[in-house]
């Protein structure tokens, strides 16, 4: 038996309207008129605020309402609205994992036609192939990237030099170095294992260098195979040299540990690189250097903007808003806040001089690995990361933890129609 109960849909639609009105303070009645403002929903951080501002002025005469909120909250609202096919939002902020899941659900409009139409005007071929790979699902483009972000190796040049050590080239070297550099006052490395997303990000590198990745090509879990277990055992070993409180540390806490001279190196997002050079926040200005993670395969992420499949607005207009807002000139202007997903900008000598980490970031992007393009990865990541943490903190043997996660993952994916 299946529910095709119109009542339920209505309830959810109303619910999303109510939460929106409460959150954004604006209604959306009378959507049929073209003069209605364009609705943008987005996560909030400085670069995204910048893009949102640019969208408001992108096309003269077109009003853009922007609603910026925490990522989780945004996810809830988008899910509620889109699952009920409500035309609540026109432009939606997306990241690689949401692109695949939203696209799979049919919530996003494919952009290939518009891409072709505006390729020249906005020099879209300059966009990084890695970024574009993440904006694509089943061969179709679904989003225009606004930023690219990659995890890379942060290391204290002075500390390494003092210890007579070279920058690690392999995962094994990294592990050994973490142990060697570890002192009571300064941890060998940072580790960011707050549930849930931070854990997945960090484990991703171990799983793709020591392990063989998360899934095989049939979406069967392979993270619990022998090498996968070794990967998480390595992660567990590295946490022995990690900063205090790593188990509840996310990016903010890890960045502070780096800034406060509490760790000698570690895996962290490129967007945080500027803050370790900021004298207002950092005690170690100028002492950090960057490199691509040893053996590559660090997580890379693109975010950007997609067009809702349920929007009543003209897609051409929406595409032009996004493309105008994220055009090259604006990206250059915003380069202090983000890593631009355009090759020309990453190689621009002027920008490279201003941003010491651009060279390393460019390299890291080349060798990085995105999350598996499994629309349900965000979902199954919940129990995978929980189980990894139970393994790392010793609540459960690593092998048992990963086997449990694999069983849970298989059961969930099976319920969602995989393996048939």
């Amino acid at each position: 038996m299946s529910i095709q109960n119109p009542g339920r849909r209505k309830v959810i639609q109303q619910l999303s309207a109510v939460t929106l009105a409460a959150g954004g303070g604006m209604g959306w009645a009378g959507r049929a008129f073209a003069a209605d403002p364009v609705q943008l929903i987005s996560h909030r951080y400085p670069a995204l605020e910048f893009w949102a501002g640019k969208m408001k002025t992108a096309i003269p005469g077109v009003e853009v309402n922007t609603q910026l909120m925490p990522f989780d909250k945004m996810g809830e609202l988008v899910t509620i609205a889109m699952s009920s096919k409500a035309p609540t939002f026109d432009i939606v902020y997306v990241i690689d994992s949401s692109i695949v899941s939203y696209a799979k659900n049919g919530w996003l409009r494919p952009l290939d036609d518009l891409w072709a139409k505006y390729k020249k005007e906005f020099n879209l071929d300059d966009l990084s192939p890695t970024a574009m790979k993440m904006c694509t699902y089943n061969g179709k483009i679904y989003a225009l990237p606004g930023t690219i972000n990659v995890m890379m190796l942060y290391y204290r040049k002075d500390v390494l030099d003092g210890a007579g050590k070279a920058v690690p080239k392999t995962a094994a070297e990294y592990r050994a170095l973490a142990k060697q550099l570890n002192t009571p006052a300064r941890a060998g490395t940072i580790s960011c294992l707050k549930p849930t997303d931070a854990t997945l990000n960090e484990a991703h590198w171990y799983m793709n260098t020591i392990g063989q990745g998360w899934f095989d090509d049939k979406w069967n879990p392979i993270f619990n195979n022998e090498r996968g277990v070794r990967a998480i055992e390595s992660l567990k070993e590295v946490t022995q040299s990690a900063q205090r409180g790593f188990a509840s540390a996310a990016n903010d806490e890890c960045t502070i540990a780096l800034q406060q001279d509490a760790a000698a190196m570690g895996l962290q997002w490129a967007t945080r690189a500027r803050s370790v050079d900021d004298p207002k926040q950092s005690r170690v200005v100028g002492k950090f250097e960057w490199a691509a993670m040893p053996d590559g395969h660090a997580r890379v992420l693109a975010d950007g903007y997609a067009i809702s499949a349920f929007s009543k607005q003209d897609p051409d207009l929406l595409f032009r808003i996004i493309a105008t807002a994220t055009q090259e000139a604006n990206m250059r202007e915003a380069s202090g806040m983000l890593v631009p997903p355009r090759r020309s900008l990453l190689q621009d000598p002027d920008l490279r001089a201003k941003n010491r980490f651009y060279a390393a970031a460019g390299q890291a992007i080349e060798t990085a690995t995105p999350f598996p393009p499994l629309p349900e990865f965000y979902a199954v990541g919940e129990f995978i990361s929980r189980r990894i943490l139970q393994g790392v903190t010793g609540e459960m043997p690593v092998k048992q933890a990963l086997d449990t996660a694999a069983a849970e993952t298989t059961a969930y994916l099976k319920d969602r129609g995989y393996y048939k």
Binding site: M1, S2, I3, V11, D72, G75, E76, T79, I80, M82, S83, S101, N105, P184, L193, K194, P195, T196, Q243, R244, G245, F246, A247, S248, A249, A250, E253, I256, A257, Q260, A262, Y378, A379, V380, G381, E382, R386, L389, Q390, V392, T393, E395, M396, Y412, D415, R416
Partner: protein, 312 residues
């Protein structure tokens, strides 16, 4: 000599009582219509969603795709066989009991102290209420910097005395202690305020009578004051218990349920089910189960603490 009771008691009480009851019933009938609007509101915002949640809990329903299948009580069966649920439940109950217990004990101690104190109470009161008027998430962020490793307030404090503090948020056992402390930091003021107000409602001459009867300060508190504010105590314990069961924001910010699953509560699991796994049916089932557990706890509190002696 035998002193007899006054003549006024001689009017047959049974007769008087039944007349009074009739009058009261008539009055209630007249007042009923006034309750109707709020009853309707209560129905639509409380009972309807509740019924709807129960209805949803009978389906295997994915929020993102909208795919749904009727599965009867399978979601409940799944939950009850899920070790993570039982772990989260016992953990939640542990956290609730520890947090509310701590808040009550500290709250009572401070409220009693304030009650005995006659000077500067007002300013002190306001000061202590401060953590409670901060938005939970902001309070949690504030707490985060208190408990954070190395550069955190507590750690720095310990460090000045020359020893290393425990890993407040990183060690599973300490993380549980920390979330309990965090909840207590936020909600003890509420406890203090209510209990302080309660203690002040106790008739001072009852306390003087007890003093003369030979009761010590402790005996007065436990045998006179607390029993006479039992309904207030039951109220505040029930409120806090229900609230603590939904304890989410602070844990979410502090530990995200970790390390591992050390601080994952039932609410966090519900959240994960609904907005991470999109399993609305299962999330609803968990919500219904949580509600029943909270109801059970509330009735226990009301039955044991709130039972008002001497009321017919």
């Amino acid at each position: 000599m035998q002193l007899t009771t006054a003549g006024q008691d001689a009017v047959t009480p049974a007769l008087r009582k039944s007349a009074a009851r009739r009058a009261r019933r008539a009055q209630h009938r007249r007042l009923w219509p006034f309750l109707l609007p709020s009853a309707l509101v209560a129905f639509f915002i409380l009972l309807y969603p509740l019924g709807y949640a129960f209805y949803l809990s009978l389906f295997n329903y994915y929020l993102d795709t909208g795919a749904s299948t009727f599965v009867g009580f399978a979601n409940y069966a799944d939950l009850f066989t899920d070790t993570r649920f039982w772990a989260a439940l016992t953990r939640t109950i542990g956290i609730v009991v520890a947090a509310v217990g701590l808040e009550f004990c500290v709250g009572l101690t401070v409220a009693y102290g304030l009650y005995r104190l006659t000077f500067g109470v007002r300013a002190l009161n306001l000061l202590m209420f401060l953590p409670h008027i901060i938005t939970p998430v902001v309070a949690a962020l504030f707490l985060k910097w208190i408990f954070a490793g190395r550069w955190g307030l507590l750690d720095s404090l310990f460090a000045t005395f020359g020893f290393f503090a425990p890993d407040w948020l990183g060690d599973p056992a300490w993380a549980r202690v920390t979330v309990v402390l965090a909840d207590a930091w936020q909600f003890t003021p509420f406890m203090i305020l209510v209990l302080f107000a309660g203690l002040n409602t106790v008739d001072p001459s009852q306390i003087e009578a007890a003093q003369i009867d030979g009761a010590s300060g402790r005996q007065i508190l436990f045998r006179i004051m607390l029993p006479s504010i039992a309904p207030i105590i039951a109220f505040v314990l029930t409120m806090r218990m229900m609230d603590a069961f939904r304890y989410f924001d602070t844990i979410y910010v502090l530990t995200g349920g970790g390390p591992g699953t050390a601080t994952e509560t039932v609410t966090m699991q519900t959240y994960a089910l609904a907005f991470r796994l999109f399993q609305i049916g299962k999330a609803s089932a968990l919500g219904v189960v949580t509600l029943l557990i909270v109801l059970a706890f509330a009735s226990i509190i009301v039955a044991t603490v709130g039972r008002r002696k001497g009321r017919t």
